[in-house]
Structure formats: structure tokens, C-alpha cells
């Protein structure tokens, strides 16, 4: 495949794989409650993500180590086990939310309640992992995720005001509901800066056998893929600001989020919303399941690859099998996926330091990266992300209690 085609595919899959239930729900809530005021949170999250994703790809391409590999080797098993526990628990919660998102999408499309969909959906996700290859999952699911471009169409059709939208890109303080504003901002950042995305991206670079020649491609994909993906998130917020805020509708239920599409596209909006969310959450569920299995396999030194037959990497396959079916249990019991989503986003924000601090060390390691290690700009960005992550870690849970 030519490099140009690889870049194009990489950007497209980044766009298609960007939105998931967390980013949609948090952006919709932000738009419905605060209009354009929280666009800056999405912008900040995306800027951080561009740098983190680029670094993840660079580390893999140059050192031939994934982030997890390198973390285990450099920091040793005792430290690694703490990160494993924190990241995997939170990722599991997010997996429950994504499977729930698929179930909720099917609920609004068919009228059958999401608890009934929990087992078939989990089975479907598992079957794709069992029989599929990395390319199928990365490219196939993400290409289907391009249905989420419907949110951009909806936002444009609602005729947003350019000046107000631009104003929302600058941080402002809310007049009222400060706790809710803070919590929503934290949730947006938690939805954007997801450690599992970094782990998945670096594992993907190894699966795709990247080397140093891929550094420019990596930079392109990270920058443009995440930027366009971030535009999708902003489109959700803008559409919610125009469709929901004037009517005083808060997004507590999944069906309310559908209104931001149906207001703009009365005829097809409902089904488009359902289909877009179905594919977005499917892609995310596959990605998180793989990320968790990668974490165990790479950290503990097992055979791993999505391109191998399951019996050839038995422990790796066993891990994703177990977690997918465990994730179905809360949904079968009727636990609200939206509540799980918000908790997952807040906890992702709270556990960010665990992922980002070791990453800063790795990106400055001359043995892994040689001349390709971080310069002062990248280090400054990571330092800012660490600062943000510590602030989020401290405030996210109290804000969830006060603001949700």
C-alpha cells in the first residue's frame, strides 16, 4: 500500500473511530446545558490527544515496543501492576458503557429494551474479535463509524452562529451551575484523553509493523485524524446547543440525545442517530476489548496478535473473551449505560496520571527513542497534560457527586 493511501486510511479510521458513547453523551450534555461554552474543553482534549497519539506511534515505530511493553521493562512489575489495576478497571467500565451504547442504539431502532440486547451484542463483539483480524477491526469498524459524520451534517443544517461558536473555543466561567459545568468539562476531557486509545494505537503500530520511516505518516495521522475527529465531537455539542438548549432539554437519557439529529433531519435523523451510534460504540467496544487484552499480554510477556488464530495466543484470546462477557452482566441487570458512561469518563480523568506520568519518562528514554525522543515542545505538552490530569484526578469524583 502506498504511503499516501496509508495516510488517508489512517486519517479516515481515526475520524470514524473517534466518537463513542462517552464523547457523544458528554458533548450533548455540554451543548444542552451550556450552549457553546464548553467547546474549549473539546479543543483542549483534542490538542492533548494529538500529541499523545503521535508520541504513542513514534515510540512503537522507533523502539519496536508498545507503551505497555516499555512500561513493564522500565518501571518493573510492582509499579506496572498498579497501572494495570487502575487502567484495566476503568477501561472495563468504559467497555460496559460502549456495549450499553450498542444496546441503546438497537433499543431505539427496534423498540426492544437494551438489557435484552446485552448478551447478543457481547456475543457479536466477541465473535468479531474471535474471527477477525486487526485490519478488519481497525479499518472495518472505523469505516462504518464514518456514519457519525451525520452529526456534522445535523450541526450545519441547524445554522450555528459563527461568532458564538468561535467564542465558545475560549474558556469562560458559567453564571450558574458551576459544579455541573466543572463536572461536564472534566467528563469531556476524560472522554477525549483516553489512555486506552494510546495503548491501542501503539499496539496497532506494532501489528502494522511500523518502523522509523513511518514517523512522518504517524504525525499526519495523529494531527489530521484527531483534528477531524474532534470536529465531530464539536458538531455534537453545537447541534445539542441549537436543538436542545432552547427547549431546556437535558440529556439524561439516550433518546434525548437523538433529538439533536431529528431536529435537524426530521425524516432520517432518528435512524441516522441510531445507526451512527451503533457503529461508533461497536468500534469503541472492539478497541477497548483489544486494549485490555493487549495490556495483559504485553505486560506479562504472552504471545499476542489479533492476526493469530485464538489457540496460538490462548491467554490473549482468553482475556478478551472473559472481559467481554463480564461486561455484559451489569447490562443484563439493567444498569443504566449513561450513568456508567459518566462514571467511566470521570474515572478515566481521575486515573490519567497513572498513564501519562510514566509515558513522559518513556518518551525521553534515549535507549528506546534515540534521536527521536521528545523535544521541549512535546515535553511541555506532556507536562501540561500531567498538570491537567492531576487536577482532574483531584476534582473529578467530588464534581461527579456535586454536579451529576
Amino acid at each position: 500500500m502506498s504511503k499516501a493511501l496509508q495516510i488517508a486510511l489512517g486519517i479516515i479510521t481515526s475520524i470514524g473511530g473517534f466518537l463513542e458513547i462517552g464523547s457523544v453523551v458528554t458533548a450533548a450534555q455540554a451543548g444542552a446545558a451550556f450552549g457553546y461554552q464548553l467547546l474549549w474543553a473539546i479543543l483542549l482534549g483534542v490538542l492533548c490527544l494529538i500529541f499523545l497519539v503521535e508520541m504513542s506511534g513514534r515510540l512503537a515505530a522507533v523502539s519496536k515496543h508498545t507503551i505497555v511493553d516499555a512500561m513493564r521493562e522500565r518501571f518493573g512489575f510492582p509499579f506496572f501492576s498498579i497501572v494495570l489495576l487502575g487502567i484495566v478497571l476503568v477501561a472495563f467500565l468504559v467497555l460496559v458503557a460502549e456495549l450499553g451504547g450498542i444496546g441503546l442504539s438497537l433499543q431505539i431502532l427496534t423498540g426492544i429494551g437494551f438489557p435484552w440486547w446485552a448478551i447478543p451484542v457481547s456475543f457479536g463483539v466477541w465473535a468479531l474479535m474471535w474471527k477477525g483480524t486487526f485490519s478488519l477491526i481497525e479499518n472495518g469498524a472505523s469505516l462504518l463509524g464514518l456514519f457519525t459524520i451525520a452529526f456534522v451534517v445535523a450541526a450545519v443544517k441547524l445554522h450555528p452562529d459563527g461568532a458564538s461558536t468561535a467564542h465558545g473555543l475560549l474558556p469562560t466561567f458559567p453564571g450558574e451551575d458551576k459544579a455541573k459545568y466543572g463536572f461536564t468539562a472534566v467528563s469531556i476531557l476524560g472522554a477525549s484523553i483516553s489512555p486506552y486509545l494510546m495503548y491501542f494505537y501503539s499496539s496497532g503500530a506494532i501489528e502494522d509493523e511500523w518502523d522509523e520511516s513511518y514517523i512522518p505518516i504517524n504525525r499526519f495521522i495523529a494531527t489530521f485524524g484527531m483534528s477531524f475527529g474532534g470536529l465531530l465531537s464539536m458538531a455534537v455539542l453545537v447541534a445539542a446547543a441549537l436543538a436542545l438548549q432552547p427547549k431546556g432539554i437535558d440529556v439524561d437519557k439516550f433518546e434525548q440525545a437523538a433529538l439533536l439529529m431529528t431536529t435537524a433531519l426530521p425524516k432520517w435523523g432518528f435512524y441516522l442517530f441510531g445507526i451512527a451510534m451503533l457503529f461508533a460504540c461497536l468500534g469503541a467496544a472492539l478497541e477497548i476489548s483489544l486494549a485490555i487484552a493487549y495490556f495483559f499480554a504485553q505486560g506479562l510477556g504472552w504471545n499476542w496478535s489479533e492476526n493469530l488464530q485464538p489457540s496460538k495466543d490462548a491467554r490473549f484470546s482468553f482475556v478478551y473473551t472473559i472481559i467481554i462477557f463480564l461486561a455484559a452482566i451489569p447490562l443484563v441487570m439493567g444498569v443504566d449505560p449513561i450513568k456508567v458512561t459518566l462514571m467511566g469518563m470521570a474515572l478515566t480523568a481521575a486515573t490519567l496520571p497513572l498513564a501519562i506520568v510514566p509515558f513522559l519518562f518513556l518518551m525521553n528514554d534515549p535507549i528506546y527513542l534515540g534521536e527521536h525522543r521528545n523535544g521541549w515542545i512535546s515535553n511541555s505538552v506532556v507536562a501540561i497534560v500531567i498538570l491537567i490530569s492531576f487536577v482532574l484526578a483531584v476534582v473529578s469524583i467530588p464534581l461527579q457527586v456535586l454536579g451529576s
Binding site: R74, F75, G76, L360, F361, N364, D365, P366, I367, Y368, R373, N379
Partner: protein, 102 residues
């Protein structure tokens, strides 16, 4: 005596007078065909920084803080380390007789 080398990492080391010297952070070894010979034990925070390959991060911060504490580093020859009790390693010398590595 057979012991698990990995359990020595981070263990506090005292000198012959019982004064704390630092923690074991690394082992410098020489590879041979049938075994690795332990030449020196690296003790001190700088040993940890070295192990994490973190000097490119630590040096600028250190410079900014005008701190010297981070540069504590001792390389103890194997003959000077008493591992009779692996949980409480002891030096066979006093701290004042040790020369820190710059």
C-alpha cells in the same frame, strides 16, 4: 546461599555502623557463559534515575532547583556487601569510607 536478586531492589542498605547509605537500585554484572558475575551494587537515588533512563528529564529539573540530593550514588564492590540477611543488607565499611560517584 541462594537468593532472589529482584527482591534486593529497593532494599535499604546500612553501613558497618548502622547508618543508612541508600537503597540498592542496580547491579553491574559481567556476562560469562554459565553465569553473570556481580561486580558492583549501585546504591542511591541516581541509580534509580539511571535505571529509568530519566537523566534527560531530571537534569534540567535538578539544575532549576539547584539540588544536589539527586546525585547521591555509590557503587559498592561485591566484596564490601554483606548479604547474610538479604532483607537487611549491610556494608563491610563505614559510610565515611565510601566515595560517591559523580
Amino acid at each position: 546461599m541462594e537468593l532472589n536478586a529482584e527482591l534486593l531492589i529497593g532494599t535499604k542498605v546500612v553501613d558497618s555502623a548502622g547508618e543508612s547509605v541508600g537503597r540498592i537500585e542496580e547491579f553491574r554484572v559481567e556476562r560469562e557463559e554459565k553465569a553473570c558475575l556481580v561486580n558492583t551494587y549501585v546504591i542511591g537515588v541516581s541509580g534509580l534515575v539511571d535505571r529509568l533512563s530519566a537523566w534527560t528529564l531530571v537534569r534540567p529539573i535538578n539544575k532549576f532547583l539547584h539540588s544536589h540530593k539527586l546525585y547521591s550514588l555509590y557503587e559498592i564492590p561485591w566484596q564490601d556487601m554483606d548479604l547474610t540477611d538479604p532483607r537487611h543488607p549491610k556494608l563491610r565499611k563505614a559510610r565515611r569510607d565510601l566515595r560517591p560517584v559523580n
